[in-house]
């Protein structure tokens, strides 16, 4: 069994950077890391394929950056496809999905995994777009995934509980955060990652027209970037045994009690 996992490499969310108001893009001059959201997909893939399966990582990133990819390889993934191209600057979710789908197609996986949403973009649309581009069925928001004789069974998060969904392979599944415990790479894993195959591709390699992706493919423009109206901080007091009384008074004023 072969599983392809989409892994996004992002600036550390602890240090999110800022918007550049001139170019209207995120300033990204820091080293990229593996999006934590995708570490669950990598872990799940490793668990699903077991000993004799194969896990291929798919990542689109500026400048062939691979710091985050190395982390996922060190966790145990077998190989990776890395797509970089200057024409991809400004790519929105649809452009990204076109690139990921073309890269995934080369590997002919039984299952494609992605996270339900990325930490920095959180459009939450890329996985479903990839599935549609590949002509695959999909189950999004998975909190439990099992594979059995050519079928994937998923517990899918819903607004008020969950659904059990059955789907024949090949298929795409997007996984929610926290559903498995991502392993830490071992020292051996980190060393092994250095010699694992990483195929570096451009748009031309994938046969994608530059006019259909990036800024041109987005067909949208940012009109403005403005500070949001601030919410004023109110009264902050130190609890000296009377904190609860202040809350009670506040709730009474609000006519809650």
């Amino acid at each position: 069994m072969k599983v392809a996992v989409c892994v996004k490499q992002i600036p550390d969310p602890a240090d999110p950077g800022a918007m550049n108001p001139e170019t209207k893009t995120l300033k990204r001059d820091v080293k990229l890391i593996l999006d934590e959201s995708d570490s669950y997909g990598v872990e799940m893939a490793l668990q699903l394929v077991g000993e004799d399966g194969e896990v291929v990582l798919i990542s689109m990133v500026p400048n062939n950056e691979r710091n985050g990819l190395n982390n996922a390889l060190a966790m145990g993934a077998d190989s990776a496809i890395l797509v970089s191209d200057d024409a991809l600057a400004g790519s929105d979710a649809l452009s990204t999905a076109k690139v990921l789908a073309a890269a995934i197609q080369r590997t002919e996986p039984d299952l494609v995994l992605a996270a339900t949403e990325s930490s920095d973009g959180y459009t939450g649309t890329v996985p479903e777009q990839v599935a549609e581009l590949l002509g695959l069925p999909s189950v999004t928001f998975a909190k439990e995934v099992t594979i059995d004789s050519g079928n994937v069974a998923v517990k899918r998060q819903t607004e008020d509980g969950y659904d059990e969904v059955d789907c024949p392979l090949p298929a795409l599944v997007s996984v929610t955060a926290g559903v498995v415990e991502p392993r830490y790479p071992s020292f051996k894993g980190i060393m092994a990652a250095k010699s694992k195959p990483v195929e570096e591709l451009t748009l031309a390699d994938l046969g994608i027209e530059t006019s259909t992706v990036g800024w041109a493919g987005g067909r949208q423009e940012i009109v403005s970037i403005e500070p949001a109206p601030e919410r004023e901080a109110g009264e902050i007091i130190e609890d000296e045994g009377d904190g609860h009384e202040r809350i009670v008074a506040f709730l009474q004023e609000m006519k809650v009690i």
Binding site: A93, P137, S138, T140
Partner: protein, 316 residues
């Protein structure tokens, strides 16, 4: 007049709140068509009409198929005939699925995480970034209907008193492999009291509670105040409470009259889900906690002291 299409999410004849929110905005922008997957179009026609939709386009029953591929295919076909100006979805499990598939079918991009829509020189979406400190306004430049994914609680759901919407069945094209995912079972997690995203009062707990058992204080306080209990992701990930409790970017958006945050630091991803509350009370032992920057009343103190005292003071 602009033609605005709105994704109507229903379940057994009940229209979801976010659908009503979208309709409230859509009817200000133009003539509204709702599109829908399921067997209950006739049942919801009056309510959708009262909220501003003149027509429902429905796939009818999908025989337990997930709605994404079927509804997207049917709507794409219909939209190519009628060229709507904008197609609106709520940021929900189903909404994202349909919007993603539709975007590919129509080769049209999606603008996501919208909290407002401005009708200036073409529809413009407003997206908050960096935990709501910055607003980015984006508009489409191409020749296609703009697809917008709108966050819950962006607009006020209010009936406008129109006639029942007319119901029109859409043909669902052959879905091939994409239609093969089937729901075999549905589980509803019961909870008493008001729903988290509809409650007038929300009491949320975070990692500062120390351990899972202490969440009972949050439940008790929410119960006494007639509100709902919520949580930060830290304690959802830790398994103290189910995901359905989570408030924030990847959880629920809440806008109660009073939001009480106990032992929550106020990470941007949490604040984005509760910043719109009318008033905010925060209890945290760290005076530097970011949550205090948006609190109307901040108590610098220990939740293990303040919460029990508060529970006792409120009584039954």
């Amino acid at each position: 007049m602009a033609n605005i299409w709105v994704h109507a999410e229903t379940s057994g004849g009940v229209v979801s709140t976010i659908t009503l929110e979208l309709l409230a905005k859509a009817r200000d922008l133009g003539e509204v068509t709702a599109f829908h997957a399921g067997a209950d179009a006739e049942q919801v026609a009056a309510e959708l009409g009262a909220h501003g939709a003149t027509r429902i386009l429905t796939t009818g029953d999908l025989d337990n198929g997930l709605p994404g591929p079927a509804l997207a295919s049917a709507v794409a076909a219909k939209a190519s005939e009628e060229s709507p100006d904008a197609i609106l979805f709520g940021t929900t499990y189903g909404g994202r699925d349909v919007a993603g598939r539709l975007s590919v079918k129509m080769d049209a991009p999606v603008i996501t995480n919208i909290v407002d829509l401005l009708d200036t020189d073409g529809l413009t979406g407003v997206e908050p970034v960096f935990g709501g400190t910055t607003n980015v306004k984006t508009r489409f430049t191409g020749e296609m209907p703009g697809i917008f994914l709108v966050r819950p609680k962006s607009f006020n759901a209010e009936a406008a008193g129109g006639d029942a919407a007319t119901v029109e069945i859409m043909a669902v094209p052959d879905l091939g492999a994409t239609g093969l995912a089937k729901v075999t079972n549905r589980f509803v997690e019961e909870s008493d009291g008001p729903k988290l995203d509809e409650a007038g009062i929300v009491v949320s707990g975070g990692r500062g509670l120390g351990e899972a058992d202490n969440f009972q204080m949050i439940e008790d306080l929410a119960g006494k105040l007639g509100g709902a209990a919520g949580a930060s992701r830290a304690i959802v990930d830790a398994g103290w409470v189910p995901y359905s409790y989570q408030v924030g970017q990847t959880g629920k958006v809440v806008k109660p009259d009073v939001y009480i945050a106990a032992g929550i630091s106020g990470a941007t991803q949490h604040m984005v889900g509760m910043k719109g509350s009318k008033t905010i009370i925060a209890i945290n032992k760290d005076p530097e906690a970011p949550i205090f920057s948006i609190a109307d009343l901040g108590i610098v103190g220990d939740v293990h002291k303040v919460l029990p005292a508060l529970l006792e003071a409120i009584g039954d």
